[in-house]
Subunit: 110 residues, 2 copies
Amino acid sequence: MDQSTLCPRFEKGMQLLSKRWTVLIIYQLLSGPKRFGTIESSIPISGRLLSERLKDLESEGIVNRHIYPEIPVRIEYSLTEKGFALEPIIRDMEQWCKQWIELEEETTVR
Amino acid sequence: MDQSTLCPRFEKGMQLLSKRWTVLIIYQLLSGPKRFGTIESSIPISGRLLSERLKDLESEGIVNRHIYPEIPVRIEYSLTEKGFALEPIIRDMEQWCKQWIELEEETTVR
DNA sequence: TCTTATTAGTTACTAATTGTAAGTAATTAT
DNA sequence: ATAATTACTTACAATTAGTAACTAATAAGA
């Protein structure tokens, strides 16, 4: 019983963007190219998933992967035009969160 | 090794918004209050998860639940101010998807 | 030579989340 | 008595995520 009146591009896009960590990874890349380890330490994601997500984002044309054959190897991830087109949306999401999301207080012992 | 420089509200908010189906549910409610069954048939989500997501959204103050004690009972879900504050963001996401997401062609038998 | 360090992952395994299908309660219609 | 309707639950299988240890290639240090 799904007479999905939904735009299939929207549905597919949301499937991608609403995977856990995806937006936060793109967010990290808004400020410029980053290496695997840098992204890994800036958000609490595991290496396994970061590797998986970066592959997805690369295959969707949102992220570029550039290899510098140094020793040890250096690999930089950066946003494509398609990726940068998300910048205003992600900045707005950040603003929405800052305005509307409340954190639960730690119950501090006094 | 996570010296998370990330705004905790942003992180928490994204954890919420990037749960599967969440944005699409809110999107359905942008056009006005909707009943459980209506949402269920407009996106390919299961009843189990829709129920779970609506509870989350209600407890986060994004969605209101209004009971009309008719027979059979009618329940309507609508957006709160916090929920409607997401409207421009979700519309922009829809636009981004329409512009950048490509669908894989069905391999048709000829 | 042997050990350690570095980067960018991968592997194996467990835990948590999702999907599927059937079931429930309350009531009216047939 | 049976079926239909709505808004869910429940039980269980399948998929995805999290954790921790491991790998390859090379260089520096003891």
